[in-house]
Amino acid sequence: MLWLRTVQLGVKSLLLHPLRSLLTVLGIFIGVASVIWLLAIGEGISFEAQKQIEGLGADNIIVRSIKPPSEETANTRGPVPYGLKRFEFDAIVETVPTIKSALPIREIRRQFSRGEKMVDGRLVGTIPDYARVLRLEVDRGRFLEPADVQSHKAYCVLAAEVAQRLFPYQDPIGRTVNLIEHKDYYLIIGVMKSRSPTAAIGGSLEAQEFSNDIYVPISTMRQRIGDRVWTRRAGSFEGEEVELNQITFRVDDIKHVLATADLLKAMFDRSDVKITVPLELLEQAKTMRLMFIMFMGLIAAISLLVGGIGIMNIMLATVTERTREIGVRRALGAKKVDIIRQFLVETIVLSIAGGATGVAFGLLCPTIVDGLRNFARWQNPEFVAKLPEVMQAVTPIIVPVSIPLAFGISVVIGVVFGIYPAIRAANMDPIEALRHE
C-alpha cells in the first residue's frame, strides 16, 4: 500500500518532466539493450565458428599436403613431388597407438562426361570410411565398400549435384561416367545426398565443397591414374606428383588428441604438409568467445555506467529543484526514510522502465538484424555481397542469462546511483528547505 502509493507518486513526479525522464530512461535503455545485443551477436558469431569446427570432428586430426609455391619449383623439370607419402601413412597407422583409424584421401580436379554433358569436378580417391567421417549420406545405391578397395574396382559414387547434371532424366546407377582426361569409364554404384559446403576456418583449413565430387576407391585411382597428374591450365600443362592429398586421423580418445597432434607435428615438420587440429581450433574459438564476451561486457558495462551517471545527475538536479517540496513533506510528517524512499523509488522506476524497454528491444535483436540485412539486400545487393561473410550470415543468439543480468544490473544501478541523491534530500534541514525559493 505504502509502496504502491509511493510508486504512483514517483510516476506522477516523473511525468511532470516527461522529456527529462524519457532521456534518462534512454540512457539505461541503451545500456541494457546493448548488453543483450552485443552478447547475442557475439554468441551468434562464435556459435557459427564452433559449429564449423565441430563439423570437422573434435577427435580428428587433419593432415594435408600443401603444394609448394611455384617459385620454389620453377627450376624443376617435370612433375613436382610433394606432400604425404603412402609409407608415412602406413608407418603412422602401425606405430602411433592412439590412432583409432586413418582416412587417406587423394583428390584431383577432373572433367567427367556422360554423352554430351560434362562436369568440372573433383575426383576423390578414398576408402569407405570417408562417408562416415565427413558425415555424407547415401541417397541411392551404396557408398564404396572394403571389397571395392581391395579388388581395385572401377566403381564410383556421385555427389547429388553431379548426378543431377549428368543424368537429368535417367537413373545413374548401373551406368558409367567418362573420365575424359584418362579416357576411362567408371561404373556408378551410388548417389550421395546433397551436403552444404563447410566454410573455411580462420585460414587453417580451406572451405570444402562436396557438390562436384565423384568418389572412387583409392586403390583403383592409384592403379588407373597413378601419382603423377597433368593438368591443363591456361594453355600449358602443369604436373604434380602426389601420393596422398589428405589423411584424416581419428584419435581413440579426445584426451589424446593434443598429444597425438604434437607427435604428428614433430613428424611433419616441413612446408608441404599442414596439420589442422579441430580440437585446438575449438579451444581457440572458446577462448576467443570468452574474450569476446568480456570485451562486449565491458562496453555494455560502460554504457550502463554512463546511464547510471545520467540518472544520478538528473536526480541531483531534481532534488535541488524540489527542495521546497521536501521541506513541505517533512513539515507534514514525512520521516527521513520516507523521503529516501520517495526519491529512491523514482530512480528505480526510471531504471526499471529503461531496463524493461531495453530487454524488450534486446529480444528483438535477431529479428531486427535479419530485417536490416534483408532490407540492405533489397536496397543494395552489391554492397551486401561485399560485406564480410560473418556480417552476411550471422544470426544473433540471445544469451538467456543476459536478460536477467541486464535487467538486474539496471535495477542495481538505479539503487546505487539513486541512493546518494535520496539521502541528500532526506538530510536537508526542513526549515531551510521550506524557506527555499
Binding site: 511532470l16 513541505v328 513539515a331 507534514l332 510528517g333 514525512a334 527521513k336 521550506l434
Partner: protein, 249 residues
Amino acid sequence: MKYAARIIDITKEYPLKGETVHALRGVSFDVPFGDYVAIMGPSGSGKSTLLNLLGCLDKPTSGQLLLEDDDIGALNDDELATVRASRIGFVFQSYNLIQQLTVLENIQVPLFYLGRLGAAERIRCEEIADLVGLKDRLKHRPAQLSGGQQQRVAIARSLVNAPNFILADEATGNLDSVTTEEIMGLFEKLNNEGRTIIMVTHEDEVSAHAKRVVRLRDGLLQSDIINENRELLLPPNTRIKDTIPADHA
C-alpha cells in the same frame, strides 16, 4: 486546564557565521485548547524561531515545549515527524501544496505519512474538502486553482489529522483583501467550532481577528494581551456548517 501547547522559559541559540545568535531568550506562554492566538513582532524578534519550535521543526536550546503533556525536546527526528503529522496543522504563506498531486491527494498527505489512510479516512478527506468549499475541485491540480482556493486546500490539509492546533504562518500574506477576509472568516469559523489556532503575522488587520495577541521583541515576550476590541467577521459562533452554500450541502 488542558493546553494545546505550553512554552516554558524557552531559549534558542544557533550559530551563524561563527557567532551565536540568541533568537529566543526565555519566552513563556500557554495556549489552551480553543484559543486563537496571534504572534506578532518585527523581524528579528524571534517570531520565526518560535514558529519553527511550535511546529516541531526544531528543538529549543533550553526550556520546555509541551504539547498536551509531552515534552518535544526529548524526541528524535522520526518522533518529531510523527508529532508534526499527527498533532500540528501547518498553513503557510505560499500555500506549499505539492504540485504533482491533486487537491484530494494534497489533503491526504499527513495521513499518508501517519500510515493511516484507510477507506474511512479517504471519505473524511472529501468531507473536509467539502467543508472548505472545494467539493468540485478534488481532481484539480494546485496550478489550476486561485490563491484563495489553494489556501483553502492547505487549510483542509491542516485539518485532516485533527491537530492540537493549526499553525498559520502569514497565511494571508499572498492574498488580496477580499480573499484575506474569506480565509480569516474560515479561521474564525474553525475557532468557533473549538479548534485552536496559532497565527504568526505582522499585520495588525490580521491580528485584530484573534482572541489574544502575543508580541515578541528581541527574543523576549513583550506583551501577551487579550484582544478586547476583537473584530468579528461573522455573527458570533458561526460554524462552518452554517455557511455552506446550498450547492455544497
